[in-house]
Symmetry: C2
Subunit: 478 residues, 2 copies
Amino acid sequence: MTDLPLTIQAIKKAYAAKTISPRELILQLRSQALAQADFNAWITLLDEAQLEPYFVALANKEMDELALYGVPFAIKDNIDLAGVPTTAACPDFTYVPELSAPVVEALISAGAIPLGKTNLDQFATGLVGTRSPYGEGKNVFNQEYISGGSSAGSAIATALGQVAFALGTDTAGSGRVPAVLNNLIGHKPTKGLLSTRGVVPACRTLDCVSIFALHAEDAAQVLEVAAQYDEQDAYARVNTYANKKRYFGAVPSSFKFGVPDELDFFGNSETQALFQKSVEQLQQSGGTPVSISFAPFIEAAKLLYEGPWVAERWLATQNVKLESMLPVIQTIIGNGNNGKASDAFAAQYRLAELKRTCDGIMQGLDCVIAPTMPTVFTRAQIGEQPVKNNSILGTYTNFMNLLDYSATAVPVGFLSSGVGWGVTLFGNAFTDVTLLSFANILQRANATNMGATAYPLEQVSSSATPCPPTEIDVVVCG
Amino acid sequence: MTDLPLTIQAIKKAYAAKTISPRELILQLRSQALAQADFNAWITLLDEAQLEPYFVALANKEMDELALYGVPFAIKDNIDLAGVPTTAACPDFTYVPELSAPVVEALISAGAIPLGKTNLDQFATGLVGTRSPYGEGKNVFNQEYISGGSSAGSAIATALGQVAFALGTDTAGSGRVPAVLNNLIGHKPTKGLLSTRGVVPACRTLDCVSIFALHAEDAAQVLEVAAQYDEQDAYARVNTYANKKRYFGAVPSSFKFGVPDELDFFGNSETQALFQKSVEQLQQSGGTPVSISFAPFIEAAKLLYEGPWVAERWLATQNVKLESMLPVIQTIIGNGNNGKASDAFAAQYRLAELKRTCDGIMQGLDCVIAPTMPTVFTRAQIGEQPVKNNSILGTYTNFMNLLDYSATAVPVGFLSSGVGWGVTLFGNAFTDVTLLSFANILQRANATNMGATAYPLEQVSSSATPCPPTEIDVVVCG
């Protein structure tokens, strides 16, 4: 363990004070990752020779010029890092990309250093973290429990303080479920904000690259660097002016947040109590709760796995033999090509109607709060009911990309088993920074140590006061 | 024949001068429509009793309050008019709607009077106008030739001066092909601008209600009234501030327009010459032609009928027995449910890529000019090759809704057979009024009589100078 809290601010401060160099820090963290291998966070850790070019590249750079100078990060192993195998947790699928995904390239260009590629539910198909031939992801607080997935390793590595942040992907909840189970912020950006080129598709119309961080401000900082419009990604979208890091913390002193009228915690009184507490905390921070009809959101969520979108997973894995997949993935993807084109269109019609309804419900609200997942499971429980319990975890995450919302999962406390739990704040597309600002309020109201580290949130925090703009966008005509 | 050119301005002027009353005009036009029944324009003409309530409704209204006071129009018979059968040109499909489609309701509320419901290619599936059990639509200039379709009757009725304007629908070109064949403006609005509720779907994700008018300004006026955001239509979109009638005529003195680098006129030297002349006319009006790569547009066009979107037509007619359809429609729609959901998604991926490419090509252009269709056909030729020749007509229209463009078909002259021909100006979504303004320039450059009437375009035209805003949108706070 390093004696440094792995926040961007703390790392850069330590570099500035020369108490540690990027090389020293990264190699220490690499050793730590090797020592904590039993959590099954990593599929590939870069070796010293592979890391060397990153240290060299930083040597001639000024720290002030690079937002993520020497900041260690992890990459889910369905996102390309040049020269390093991409497995998607399926050994037979493995290829070595020549180029990094643009989103990875953007982070590296800003000074960030990748420690390696992290474990996942095979083909990002799962919310559990146990569906991998590279070992089951284990919860950082209680190894009998799931880490959550599919971005299991990215969450574990961040929570254990092996990296400052990590990239995941989030189609159905894969960036949110493992975040709160391991006491992290998990931000699922607006669709199209982060390039998905160089990412192994799950459902290409819905896929997002997501961000794990120890606190909301770091997530906002990583988002700022990672959100580069990629004109070669057909699903890329241009960010809006107001959805930038300089607005982080800029929340109104009074606001309205939606609270679902009906929630099922599947009998878990602990998660129910934590949810209630979170609602109260938002109220204490100036929020007025507004009860909202949640049935249309839930209906949209069900469309994801009961509807035709699984055909996208089938399309994404056409070149892989079914026998190369884990049995549970074989079952899901193997049935992926049964639907008709007419089913796809009919479901899209229904989704368009539901979106109209849900957008109407959300009008006038600053955000909506929902449980990230109703309850939690041990790895054994997932082994017994691999599909059913996986589905339960997605109850409140599956609708998000279908309805084109942005979402931030916020850790709000721990269960008696020791594992983390959290809520999700969600809103319309391009409200990322607002959601992260509300997440910041909630995370701080519940301040614990960050992730599974020994460092409290307060120690490294900046204030939640809005930063004044340090740059102004101008239009030059003529 | 009335002795009144059927433009909105001329009609209202005549009413103001009391040279004719709405009742007198409408009943004259009804008689004219009956007398011209051999063109097969109408499926249902309202009788005097059905028209009476419209006359009564106008009696207490001030003409100045109603943009379309007493203006006669036609409704394609796949759009609901309360209390009148909707057939979609399939007798077994017929139903009598209780409510009018919101787009019809908006026109009636503005004072317009429906003469009845017009003939179409069955289920709006066709670009020929011959696919109807209610008789083949005939070209107003040469009855041996097709009227074009699917909005055959709406075009015929407008061109013959039986109505001032007509509603069509346009999924693949149905509002553009019959327009220019009959010397009319055919405007296919931005998707979602006009409600498609109460319209029999063809491809619900692509369908548009379209407008036929004698000249561009009337089309702009009808668009202004018809484009009412319908929150109950899941595909409705809110119009932009700049896409309003008050901008009609507001075109820059110099502009850039795209010209496809490769065009196939299928051996027709007459259409090729007219196209070339239109390009030159736009140049003479201040336009700079820019050669653009057209292959990606053509690839998108092919997706429509060779791809999975035909599944939408199957979905729309699930409750109709195949035997109830014309043989050619049976073939098309009967094969509509063969595709897989994975085909639908794969085609949507390709379309997203093509849209990105095409949008890039169109950047920096004020509009693009293309032939509305490469060549024209007699009704006999369509009878001999009903599918192939229909496809040829859609060569340059099919991509428009898939790529989310707005388009105005403009008549630019006549072929030696006597029938009209024209070009299409297209641009990004929400450029409707700009396109209509360019269309106005081009139509006036080729000024002939309007439609098949005895009235020249000049006689009733207002200038093409931008009208100063007569109203200002204000926001009232508090």
